[in-house]
Amino acid sequence: MSTDNSEKIEKYDLWRPVVRPERRDTLESLHQSVGLSWSQSFLENFGRTITVVCGTSSFEPFQRLCEAEHESAEIAGFVFERAQASGLLLVSRQLIHNLVDLHLGGEARPAEKEATPLTPLETGLAREASTALLDTLSQSYMANGLGQLRVNVRGNHLPDLGVFDLEDYVVSFRYTLSGAGVAGYIVVALSTTVANAVASLAAPARASAQQKRLRSQVAMLPVATEILLGTWAVPIHELTELRPGDTFALPGADEGVLMTGGGRLMSLKIDFEPRLVKLWAQRRFKE
């Protein structure tokens, strides 16, 4: 019997920890919501729609993760203050470059073939971007009873950090990003003891986990809106006489309306600044 095409059968490690299904569901649900929170914070910080989706999760020895993530990246190792557990956040090199581009007010540039070293300023911004991601992660963990994160080590290569031993099993979640020209990914890896620390979902909640995920994804769907400065009626003959260079006054000095689907959603106060326009939400229309 030939074994050439057969799947590689791996030895089962007797010391391999067990993560119960309900704990795994809780962890997955928690990390799906982290992706949603990151998407929202990107929108708040950069004004861009960047969708972060927790695509895959895995349970494997740390060595495998090191083999898969051998490229240089922005990595922070952390411990949970309440739970006896540790973890790490890895932001891929490409994503770090893109986040730095956005922080500097530019457009996210595509990946370069050769790794360009970051300048000291860019290194600072990369650290800041990683810290912002960690803050959001920490808030989600706190809400789920794991306590606050405390970063204890930073680096660029996984094996150098000493967060885990190579044979340690870790639960890892891989997030992909899309939108605003951003590419790259984020990996969150946690020690298996975290699974025991999270409160397990009740059975009905487990059944609705899929629905919650769907609702989260629907909630992130982009809606086309317009910022209207004003409307007014003019006779057609005045309209046909308009020429480039003509100037006329707009009603309302600093007011506008947020429109969606042809309807008025909210009144706005508008501030024009040298590099940005600030739209202050005022009153929601009832119509």
């Binding site: 729609t49 007010g105 317009e226 004003g230 057609i236 003959h237 006054a249 959603l265 590099r275």
Partner: protein, 99 residues
């Protein structure tokens, strides 16, 4: 009164649009008083706006401010109508007599 005078006296609605944004539904739903949406603008350039007639783009303009009054200066008349979105229609004259 001639027909052309009648037509030219008709009034149409102009709207001035500062920008279009794609905002996730959840954020739109949560938007409340004093939340601020910041929209990046190129430096040292007056904000550009679009003028629409009955929802169709007809001119581009820049936004100026003079003594607290917001002014619009037309920079370009758009001769090509906005892409797509037109409904098919037909005209039936004296339809009541054909029944």
């Amino acid at each position: 009164m001639q027909k052309t005078q009648l037509v030219s006296g008709l009034r149409v609605t102009i709207s001035a649009v500062l920008c279009r944004l794609k905002i996730p539904a959840a954020l739109l739903g949560d938007l409340s008083e004093n939340d601020c949406i910041e929209v990046a603008q190129p430096p040292d350039v007056a904000p550009e706006i679009e003028l629409k007639v009955n929802g169709k783009l007809f001119a581009r303009a820049t936004l100026l401010e003079q003594e607290g009054t917001r002014l619009v200066r037309i920079t370009e008349l758009v001769s090509k109508p906005a892409q797509g979105g037109f409904q098919k229609w037909r005209l039936v004259k004296n339809a009541m007599q054909q029944v």
